[in-house]
Structures are given as C-alpha cells and as structure tokens.
Symmetry: C2
Subunit: 492 residues, 2 copies
C-alpha cells in the first residue's frame, strides 16, 4: 500500500486518531492492506503524516483491539484480517459422526417451525396455545419481583434438577414429591434425555401410531427400532403381541387428548396397559402435555397416578398451556431416574433458564396460573367451535372427515383416498395456509391421507379465512380427482 | 369405610359439595378408602347423608378431576389413588443404556454447582461474573418492550438456529455473517452438540491440559479418548507429535485467558496452531468465553479471525460477561456445521428461550451492553486486586504460588507438594470456603496440588475473609506437613 496517499483532516474537528483508524480499517477491508503485510513503524508513519507518535500508537492499539492488526515486540505490526471464511474449502462433510448419518432430514419439526415463523401464513401446522391469553402484565410484574428479591438465584447458576421452588410447586400441583421432579428446557429435552439414558442403538420402542413427530425423530436418532401401536384401536392384545415379539426397552404413549388424534385412552385400558407393562417389565413414558387443556370435562387420571409399580415416567410442559417460547417443561419419575437424567441434562445445558423458572414459580404460587388456565380453555373451546363451523360450512361433503376435539390443541382428520396430504399442503402453502400432513406422525410411511389442524395458534378472526382457502383447494382437487383417479405427481 | 361416620355441616356457610369433596379426599389420603374400592352410588350416598343427588354428583366429578376416583358407566365409581411411588420396587437400574455407564460421576460440574448454591459458603469455586453489575432496570425495561412489541416472536416457537435479530447482532459484533451463527442454550450445549456431531466412541480428542472440566466430561461421555496438550508449555512440536500419533478428530483449546490457567496463547503460536491443524485436517474448537473479559489490554485476535482454512468452530457465551442463569451462548462455524448442529439442537431443546434472546438483542442493539462490559471489567479488576492483596497478606510464603490474571474470572495456583487440593477443600468447606481443586481440570489424574480461585463470583467485602480462612488452614497444614511428610489420608 502507498502510505503517501493517506490523508487526515486537521480542521474537521474529529480526532486525528479516529480518522487514522478509519482510514486504515478501510484499507484492510478494501484489500489494499493485505493479510500478513507489515505496517510502517509508529515513528515512520508519524513522520510521514506529520502526526504525533502517540496518535499513531493509539490508532494501532485500537486496530489491534478490533482484531485487524497484531504487534510483535521487536518485529513490528502486521495485518491479520481474514478472508471471507465461506470461500475456504475445508471438507466439513467428512467430519461428522456415524450417528449424524442416522438423522432423517425430510419433514422435521425444524422445517415445520420455519413455515410457522413466516408470519404471513395462516398456520394450522404449529402446536401452540393462544398467545392472546398470555398474562403479559402479570409476567412483567413477576419478573420485576424476582429480579429484585432473588437476583442471584435468578441470574446465577441454577441446580441442574431445577430451581427448588419451581420443583416444589410443580410437585404439589401434581401430588408428588419435589425429588421426583426434573425441570426441563421443554418436554422435547425430556425425550432426548430419556433416549440417551434408556436406549442403545438397535433397541426397540413401542409407540403410538400415529404419534408425536418429536418422539419419532428422537428415538430414531438414538438408533431405535420403532414399532407402532395403533392409537385409535388401542387393542391391548395387539400391544401384548408387540411386546412379546419385539421385547421393547420402552413403551411411549400419549394417553390423553393424544397428539395428533385427540383420542383419550379410557380408564380401563389405562389399567390394563399398566398391568401389561409391569408384567413384561417395560417402562412407560407417558407424554402428557394436554392433561390441563380439556375443553369439556377433565380427563381420566394420568398413568403416573394410576401406576402402582413405579414403572411410569411422566412428561409434561408449560409450552402447551402457557408459551412455547419460554422452553420449560418437567418430568416426574423415580428419584434414581431423575438423578440419571440430570447427569445427562448437565451436558445439554447445565440447567434450564433460572429467571424464567422463578417467574413461572411466582405465577404458580400466586394462583394466577389457574385463572390463566380457565381463560385459556374458554378461548380454545371458542376457537375449536369456530374451526368446526367453518369446516362444516366450506369443505365439500365427504372430502374431509374429522373428529371433534375434547381437549388438546388439534383436530385430526382424513381426506378421501384420492388426495395426498403432502400434495395438498404444497397447494395450500401457495395460498398462504399451512397444516401438518399426517405422514409426519407415522414412522412407517402411513398417514398419506390424514392431516392435523391446530385450532389454537391462529387468531380467531383468521380461522374461517384459512379454512376457506383450504376448502377451495379441496373442492378443486375433488372435481379434478374424479377425472384422473390417483395422483400421478410424486410427493414433495 | 363406614359412610355413616361422614359428616357435613349445614350451618357453616361452606358449600356442602366442598365439604364432601374434602372429607372423601381426606379418607383416601388416610387410607380409609382403599385403591380400587367402590364408592356408594350417588343416590345411595345422597340418601344416607340427606344431601341432594346433584351435590353428591358434583363432588364425585370434582374428585374424578383430581384423579382420586374414576366412574365407569354401569359399574360405579372407584377409588384410584396410588400408593407412595418410592415404595415400589421397579428395577430402573437395569434399564439404563450402555453409554450412561460411561458417565463418570465423581467431581462433576453438577456437584460443584451444589456447593456454590449453598449461599452460606464463600465460594471461589463457581465461575460467575459479578452479578452486582447486572443492569436490572435496563433488563426489565427491555423485557417490557419486547413483550409489548414482539409478543408472538418472544413467546411462540423460535427458529432452532436462534432469533434472527440476535444472530445478526452477534454476527455484526463478531464481524461475521448471521448464517454462520448458532444461538445456544449456554456454551455447554455447544460442546455437547459438537461431541454428538463430530465424535464416535473411540475417537481421540487433543485438548488443553489442564482444561475446562465441562469439555472433559462431555468428550468423555461421548466415548472419546482424551489426549492432553500441555497448556503452559504450548509446545507446537509436542502438539504435532500428538496429532501424528493419535490422529484426533478434534483439537479443543481455549487460547485466551485459558480456563483454568489464565494463559494467553501468543499470536505466533496461534498462527502455527492453525497451520498445523490445516496440514493434518483436524478441526479446532476454539472455546472463547473470555475474549471480552480482559482486565488490562485486549487479547490477540481469535483463532477464528486468524483462520484462513475455515477449520475453526468458535464457541462463546453470555454467561461469563452477563449472567450464567440466562443460559445463552453462541457458536460461529461454517454454514454446513451450523445446519448439522441445529439438527441435533432440535432434539435437545427445539430452540433456546425466545424472550431472553430478544431481550439480549435489545440490550446489544442499544449499546447498553458495551457500557455494561466496561463496568464489569472495572469491577473485576478491583476484585482481582483485592484477592491478590489478601493472598499476599495472609498466605504463608511458598505455600501457594499463583499467577496474576490479565483476564477471565480466575486465578490459578499451585500448593507446595505436601498438600493435596482435594484434602484442603474438605477442610476449607468445613470452614465455609469453596474453591475448584485442580484435578477437575485434568483428564488423567494430574493437578493434585493445583487449585482455581474465581475472584469475581464473591462480593468484594467477602474476598479477604474467604482468603483468610483458606490461609489459616494452609498455615496449619504446612506446620503439620513438616512433621509427617506426605498425607496418609486417602483422597475424598
């Protein structure tokens, strides 16, 4: 670089030092000063530009703190900017572990989330409670109280098992002991911890079919062999056959307002399921995020509460009754398992967010949480009714059969056989409407003609519009399908 | 149970229905009503107690919603309370996976945290910045702004990669592109994700010796073979020998104010390290939580910024410059690696806490963060000076040699050879003082006579008192040790 071209303005009022830093930084960025190039000594540059040596020294030091140059005692000051890193060809693809190869990357939670976050879309895909009900003011006040009264507990390290106060409140609510509660960064973390703790590659897991997509992904990533147990038949004889044949390490089930079908396992079947699990010594993971989301009558007791063999790990979350963005869930299990899972959680995040845990505890303790739940149920019931009314009004007869949800956040339905849900999704996305195609909830390629609509995540005023757009496409599909039978277009 | 003993007070003003629920619940809890026992029919009990049938029906329904009884149409209502779960003998120990057996459970982060959370102890063990500097009011105001302006983004699902705004601000600060930034739930999560992504059991990792305890634990849990590279010698010839001999999958190093030693790797060695890694095609994880915690002069540029081969994954955190309880960190890497790690992060927690991410973004954008950092450095430098003064005043000559930290949060030192740090810790804990014994930072049993003192986590007024207690025990040890040579007592 030609330093004689460097200019600083003495009259401008801006410190000379600042001007020099800027000029040199610009020269590095423009490539006029190359990586590894030696700058003139401070004395030399000061002389050329007629500046004081202090000014030049200050500028060099500032450039150094910005990571652009580096001084070596006795050797001088060198440019150490780096080129755009993406240009470099390091073969990262060759570096990933064997287990990464197991991760399917097709229709994952992550990609579903991306559609949801596109705010222009009317998304019935995500599974989120009505955020309109979130008690913003109370949350702020609770944050203030926690930061003033318990600053160090909220901002310092939390115990891996969770903030003692939140564990106690969750335990009291659930009628168990705090030592059996593990606070999680969302219930997805619970699934991952259990997979890490309880599964070796090649182990079998019997799980709901259809079932929660996050569980399918997690168990599959752990290398498990997934065996579906038909949720809507809920045949205990079938389950016993599967258990005898595959000797599973786990039974995973969502017995209450099941995701995605909405099915509630009756009390009698709950008791039979527990007996069967105990007889074959197979632990049950009870995924139970919907217990408090009933819309008409409260559901039967949880498997955990009916269990007399200490064989159930109970998993739940604040995501479906408060806000998914807060990433707080919990599980209830034997103390031995809580301890093992906490040992693994330590690697994943040391602990869940301390401030959020204490704010939640504040809201649980004040009784505000129960008021919130009552309001939420009312809002959700209203949205469910809106969606059902809109479906009845707009969807052509016999093109979509669905259940009436009694709890949870979703409606599950079946298209007529000529229509593929993924195909339909491609078309509705083009019209700004998303839903969750049934295949996501099957580990075996089933569910092509099924789909899940979340009725709570969309503002009430948009529900009918979304359903209408969906119905218009369905109507076209139907008339078209009559002419050409099955779809010839391959799945997206 | 003898139902004729049931009593409800008509005069008390409390609803009869409530009284009945309470009485029956008490009977279940007291064991008078046994699991599986059939309750009288609604008509029967109403007749006996001279209550309306509606009252009894309401009470049964409430008991059902509390999970204490269950009605079967045509069969009656049955008690379904469960006994204390811990009594049950299910053999959970037989159910854990092979990889859980790998987890050492001796001196882990989790146990260290437990001592720290005992508020009566003066703990130099944890590694936390001064929480006195946390800008409580600004944090509250930012929370308010975010909840009012961006409620759905803060409380709904976040992208797994992080809130776009936070990614952009972190990228701008670090002079990279947002697509190369992955937001983490603390930097420990980054270590775990990288271990899952890049290591198979049996792979070798070359890492700092001594080095960060969380990295030792994470890589060991992943089944890696840990090879120590001596931090204080930082001999590149030694490193090349290790790389040739063990063909590691990763080099893990903390080049700047290294934890625990405080060492700063000079620029020349940084460049040599990068060349060597590129030559042997070994990725480097640069753990860099301390870059902004310098107490005197800014450190050299990061390995990431010096790298021209795209071979570095850079890892950092807000825990050491803001608050560990908020659980937010980030890593910077090639887009391919960010995508792979996000796929795994999806299993661990779907995303990091959305509200906290947006509040942090608010503080970064407002420039408040830089003011905070300046204040924090001043506070930390003051505490460092206090600790060094106290050590010089109270510790007997030659019983503890230590460095003067120029950044980071810790002081590293060596006891004379007669004294074991774990032994000492047992004694100081009895006097209400904790520190981190050197062995935690060695994967090979080294460090028996070394220890780490965090000078920032304790209130300034308590530093001298803590050092004094430590020094008193050291003085006793020294006079005792002279008489009996090496310790005969085994390690805790």
């Amino acid at each position: 670089m030609d330093y004689s071209k460097l200019r600083v303005k003495r009259a401008g009022g801006r410190p000379l030092y600042e001007q020099l830093v800027e000029t040199l930084e610009g020269a590095v960025e423009a490539g006029e000063l190359k990586n590894g190039e030696r700058l003139p000594s401070e004395r030399e540059l000061a002389g050329r530009l007629k500046l004081s040596r202090t000014t030049v020294a200050g500028a060099y030091r500032e450039l150094e703190s910005r990571g652009l140059v580096r001084s070596h005692v006795g050797r001088g000051t060198f440019v150490c900017a780096r080129p755009e890193p993406s240009d470099a060809p390091f073969a990262w693809r060759g570096k990933v572990s064997a287990s990464v190869a197991r991760l399917g990357n097709s229709l994952s939670l992550r990609h579903l989330t991306k559609d949801v976050l596109n705010m222009k879309i009317i998304s019935f895909a995500a599974s989120s409670p009505s955020l309109e009900c979130f008690p913003v003011e109370a949350y702020q006040r609770a944050t203030e109280r926690v930061l003033h009264r318990s600053r160090d507990a909220a901002l310092g390290l939390s115990p891996t098992e969770g903030q003692p106060r939140l564990r106690e409140l969750v335990a009291a609510r659930f009628k168990t002991r705090a030592e059996r509660v593990l606070i999680l960064s969302g219930s997805q973390q619970g699934l991952d911890l259990m997979a890490r703790c309880l599964l070796d590659p090649g182990d079998s897991v019997v799980m709901d079919r259809p079932g929660y997509v996050g569980a399918i992904q997690t168990f599959r990533a752990a290398g498990a062999n997934l065996i579906g147990w038909d949720v809507l038949r809920a045949d205990l004889g079938e389950l016993e056959d599967l258990v005898m044949r595959y000797r599973p390490k786990l039974i995973y089930t969502d017995p209450t307002f099941q995701n995605p079908t909405g099915r509630v396992l009756p009390l009698r079947e709950r008791q039979e399921l527990l007996k069967l699990a105990a007889r074959y010594r197979v632990p049950i993971i009870e995924d139970n995020p919907w217990q408090e989301t009933y819309l008409d009558a409260p559901p039967p007791p949880t498997l955990y509460h009916l269990d007399t063999h200490n064989i159930v790990i109970h998993l739940s979350t604040f995501s479906k009754i408060f806000a998914p963005g807060l990433r707080l869930g919990w599980l209830v299990a034997s103390e031995y398992i809580v301890d093992q899972l906490a040992s693994i959680k330590q690697y994943e995040d040391v602990s869940s967010e301390g401030l959020t845990q204490l704010v939640l505890a504040e809201l649980l303790q004040g009784g505000l949480f129960d008021d919130h739940l009552a309001g939420l149920r009312k809002e959700h019931a209203g949205k469910r009714d809106l969606m059902i009314k809109a479906l009845r009004r707009h969807v052509p007869p016999r093109s979509f059969e669905f259940n009436t949800p009694r709890g949870g956040l979703h409606l599950w339905g079946r298209l007529n056989e000529g229509v593929s849900a993924r195909q339909l999704l491609r078309q509705t996305l083009a019209k700004g409407v998303a839903f969750a195609p049934g295949e996501m909830f099957y580990s075996d390629g089933g569910g092509r003609h099924e789909l899940r609509l979340c009725f709570t995540s969309v503002a009430a005023v948009k529900i009918e519009e979304g359903v209408k757009r969906l119905a218009e496409i369905l109507a076209r599909e139907r008339s078209g399908a009559a002419g050409r039978g099955e779809y010839a277009v391959p799945l997206v």
